[in-house]
């Protein structure tokens, strides 16, 4: 029991070797008044069949609704091979690859991952991953303060069109290190951050500008103008990007005349299931000149004593187990298993498969927007092109509409009224390649019924 293989004879022989009368004696250095009296709050044990039944019932309770929610986590088809290999014990139950000779599989895979992510973002180097897209964005802000030696202000400009949860995570993470995050307004007609709106910062010391592409509304920012604006003023550019979209959109390494300085993003779309928010992984890339300011693990290729190539963790002098209080971050892990899934996913998809995924998702979102805006009282909130998801405006509060839809097994999107009250009854919707025309039509028909019923009431 408890996955403990000991027989009574084993225990007796082991205690004899130790010279202890019983297992209890092994705890004789612990003051008796500290010993646990009871764990009554933990239920009795379940065997495998019983826990299987319980979990299956709980999963069934959650159901399988038809979802049109995006907002930073996207439902894509995941090839069967991805998790069949990822859950092999040799990947799943391996430790961090500190012992390089016994971890060449994981290390080589990370090196392949770093290469793929660098190519996808058009950047020079990538690390072995961060916790998620939000924490990678927060770490990028901290990194920018270290990397931009000319700037003394630690001021980071953050568009209001950045995912609101990312902004919150950046605040939590960097609040005690003196970083100042300043919100940039967005154009409520277009849903983007106009470069002209930055004029009021001209002549000021700005450490970095964050640019999310596509932004939280699904709108496409003028990344070239924003990047050039920042660079002309000595600020670094932190790109926050969707990896699927990068198959079709200009990569951060090519933004403006010099390219972004740090590019991060949520890796979940690359073969990771939605799973209520995690585990996902964040990716982080930069220019070679900033590599020593990058947090997290990095794998490099080197030679062994016999002159054969092999892989190892490198630049560890940045990390907490060597540098302790002077480390670039306290991060010690990466999200290895998710990187495994993503590397297999990117191999199976290739540039062409990824581009098709992005194009198919975009086509479905356009079809969704076209369908839903045929419903009276529903229109597109912003003019201009969007990618992957879009904001709709309804003629009535969004929450009751979403509730009625969810009663019909449809998750109709994310209500933005709590995040962006100035947008009124705004709803963020998303469709990926996993949705069919029939799914979209079902949503349209239900929305039409719900709104008509609400009008009649």
């Amino acid at each position: 029991m408890a996955f403990i293989p000991h027989t009574e004879a084993d225990v007796a022989a082991m205690l004899a070797a130790i010279g202890a009368a019983g297992i209890e004696n092994l705890f004789d250095e612990i003051p008796p008044d500290l010993r646990v009296k009871s764990l009554a709050g933990v239920p009795p044990e379940l065997n495998e069949m019983e826990i299987g039944r319980l979990m299956t019932e709980r999963a069934r309770t959650d159901g399988a609704p038809l979802s049109f929610i995006g907002a930073g986590a996207y439902e894509h088809h995941i090839p069967a091979a991805v998790w069949a290999i990822t859950t092999r014990g040799e990947f799943y139950s391996a430790y961090t690859p500190y012992q390089a000779e016994a971890s060449q599989g994981t290390l080589q895979l990370i090196y392949e991952f770093q290469t793929m992510i660098a190519r996808l973002t058009g950047m020079e180097v990538a690390n072995a991953s961060m916790y998620d897209g939000a924490s990678a964005t927060a770490e990028a802000a901290l990194m920018a303060v270290r990397a931009n030696r000319k700037s003394k202000s630690a001021r980071i400009l953050v568009p209001s069109t950045l995912h609101p949860h990312y902004r919150r995570v950046a605040l939590t993470t960097a609040a005690n290190q003196g970083l100042k995050f300043e919100d940039l307004p967005y154009c409520t007609a277009e849903g983007i951050t106009p470069a002209a709106s930055l004029a009021r910062y001209d002549g000021q010391d700005i450490t970095a500008l964050v640019i999310q592409q596509p932004n939280f509304f699904g709108r496409l920012e003028d990344v070239d103008a924003l990047t050039d604006w920042a660079h002309a003023r000595g600020a670094l550019v932190i790109a926050v990007v969707n990896p699927t979209a990068l198959a079709l959109l200009k990569p951060p390494g090519q933004w403006g005349s010099r390219g972004a300085d740090i590019a991060v993003g949520e890796g979940q779309p690359l073969g990771v299931p939605l799973c209520s928010g995690g585990p996902y992984f964040g990716f982080m890339t930069t220019r070679m000149e900033h590599v020593r300011q990058m947090p997290g693990r990095i794998v490099g290729r080197t030679l062994d004593v016999a002159g054969h190539p092999g892989f190892t963790l490198t630049l560890q002098a940045r990390e907490q187990h060597i540098r302790r209080a002077k480390a670039t971050s306290n991060i010690c892990t990466n999200q290895g298993l998710l990187v495994t899934a993503a590397t297999i996913y990117m191999s199976l998809m290739g540039a062409q498969g990824l581009a098709r995924t992005a194009a198919a998702a975009h086509a479905r979102t356009r079809e969704l927007v076209a369908g839903l805006t045929r419903v009276p009282g529903v229109h597109l909130a912003f003019s201009g092109s969007y990618f992957h998801e879009a904001v709709l405006q309804l003629d009535r509060p969004v929450a009751p509409v979403l509730k009625s839809l969810s009663n019909r097994g449809i998750l109709g999107g994310l209500d933005l009224s709590g995040y962006f009250p100035e947008l009124g009854n705004a709803l963020l919707v998303c469709a990926t390649e996993t949705k069919t025309s029939a799914d979209i039509d079902r949503y349209r028909a239900c929305l039409s019924e719900v709104i008509q019923a609400a009008r009649a009431a």
Binding site: A2, I30, P79, A102, V169, T172, P251, P279
Partner: protein
């Protein structure tokens, strides 16, 4: 010896692809609305490979790894116990995998019930008042813990407290975390028996003390016997106590950090609660707090109103340190920990600490009998212990690193080496409760055999490993001639 495997890029052929896995092409008209200046001009150079060669490549890579499923991993401080298959299977039920993080609570009562009960069970086994599950790794939990300590002092208007005390043997994450939270770090020594030097502690605390970060049992593999006194000194000085849960497996079911006087704890669910390490993550670093820090826990938590579960957010916890992840942390990892805890139940939970300690003390006794020197021979081992090879290094010129590498040839993952730094030539060994006596005996035989080799044929040991896919790697070259991404021209 397993053959090294070429890079996936080297399998690539223009025009090849696993096209059965791709969606249908919507055609160029689907993209007509995207402005040309925002489009990518050249496609990214990802590999062009078929499904079978992809499957073979990554399967072969997996075979170059050691893992718990294939090898014994006596890695001190890492708790590499068996990851039950049921935990994976039932956390990956299709409804759990498909659920969107922003789906309404009505479509998540099953998940939320699991997370709520996990919070409750973790409170019970740690003796804490409130638990937040969202930190995504141990270091992330540490960050949350120290950020809460700072928020607590700040909320009281006690603005000077920005010093964190750590014992010199602490994990590197402790001082790094203190720095990330804007604190100065003050290290204090431990005595010859491995306990914190109380006089040094008493001298270190004062009006600037935010708190102390402690691991108990310590990284030296022994229980901090003066923990009551440590708690009294720190609390009297106005500081709080942080418990680094790295070694919780040692005391699970036997002692609770809350009862020892700790105000905040992070738990490595990937250690004590057996979620997989995944080759370096995902972990999960849930935090537990006492009453004083309860208002500051990171959101979201799971609450219960009557029979309904719901997320607790800023509205419920206005003093929260805030969000640590875009959504709810590593939810799938939390489900695995939940399943593990339910399978163990309260009886199993108590056996964990007992058998982890039995295995460690047995292995220590056997290794001592075989002539190896314990770093703290007069102390009980906790769930782990330190062997020092300083004699072998001095007399035979064979180091702890050499033993570690030679163990790989014998089919054992190396113990933790050169940590903690204050013990010379050390191996920190943690067998965990899931290993059988047979495995421990085989490990002792391997160590004895390597000792014999070190005496008779030291080059065999100092040049190990001999049977791995690669020999010892040139780390200096790796750091000086950075090769971090593959370039066709740099092919070797």
């Amino acid at each position: 010896m397993p053959m090294p495997e070429k890079l996936i890029f080297e399998y690539s052929h223009a025009g090849r692809g696993a096209s059965d896995q791709w969606p249908r092409d919507p055609g160029p008209a689907a993209l007509a609305d995207l402005p040309a200046k925002l489009r990518r001009v050249r496609p990214p150079e990802l590999p062009e490979v078929g499904e079978l060669e992809t499957v073979r490549h990554f399967t072969r890579l997996s075979q170059l790894n050691f893992s718990i499923d294939t090898h014994f991993y006596p890695l001190g401080s890492c708790t590499m116990k068996y990851n039950p298959k049921a935990c994976n299977q039932y956390a990956m039920l299709p409804e759990f995998l498909a659920r969107h993080p922003l789906a309404p609570e009505t479509h998540g009562q099953g998940l939320l019930a699991c997370l709520y009960e996990l919070q409750e069970m973790l409170k019970e086994v740690t003796g804490m008042q409130s638990v937040a599950l969202n930190p995504m790794a141990g270091a992330h939990g540490e960050f949350a813990g120290v950020a809460m300590i700072r928020a607590y002092h700040r909320a009281r208007g006690d603005l000077k407290r920005n010093e964190i005390i750590v014992p010199e043997a602490a994990h590197g994450t402790n001082p790094a975390t203190a720095t990330m939270c804007g604190c100065a770090v003050r290290e204090i020594p431990v005595d010859a028996q491995g306990d914190v030097e109380l006089t040094a502690l008493a001298a270190a605390v004062g009006p600037n003390t935010a708190g102390i970060m402690l691991t108990n049992p310590s990284t030296l593999g022994v229980f901090e016997r003066h923990i009551g006194e440590v708690a009294r000194i720190v609390h009297q000085a106005g500081g709080l106590l942080y418990y680094d849960g790295a070694n919780l497996n040692a005391i699970l079911g036997k002692v609770r950090p809350g009862d020892m006087g700790f105000d905040v704890i992070h738990m490595n669910l990937h250690k004590t609660f057996s979620t997989p390490h995944g080759g370096g993550g995902p972990g999960a670093g849930a935090v537990g707090v006492g009453a004083r820090l309860a208002p500051f826990v990171p959101i979201p938590l799971v609450g219960k109103d009557g029979e309904r579960y719901r997320w607790l957010t800023e509205a419920d916890l206005p003093q929260s340190i805030g969000r640590l992840s875009a959504f709810m942390g590593n939810t799938g990892v939390l489900l695995r920990a939940y399943i593990y805890m339910r399978m163990l139940g309260r009886e199993g939970m108590q056996r964990v600490g007992e058998y982890a300690t039995l295995n460690a003390n047995y292995l220590l006794a056997r290794l001592q009998a075989a002539g190896f020197a314990a770093a703290y021979p007069q102390r009980r081992a906790s769930h782990e212990f330190i062997v020092t090879l300083k004699r072998q290094a001095r007399e035979l010129n064979v180091t702890a690193m050499d033993f570690a590498k030679r163990l790989l040839d014998y089919g054992f993952h190396a113990p933790t080496t050169y940590f903690p730094l204050l013990v010379p030539e050390c191996l920190l060994i943690e067998p965990t409760e899931t290993e059988s006596k047979d495995v421990l005996d085989a490990f002792v035989s391997a160590m004895s055999q390597i000792q014999k080799e070190a005496e008779q044929e030291p080059a065999r040991v100092t040049s190990a490993p001999h049977t791995m896919p690669v020999r010892r790697l040139d780390d200096v070259r790796a750091a000086r001639q950075l090769d971090l991404t593959w370039k066709p021209t740099a092919q070797s």
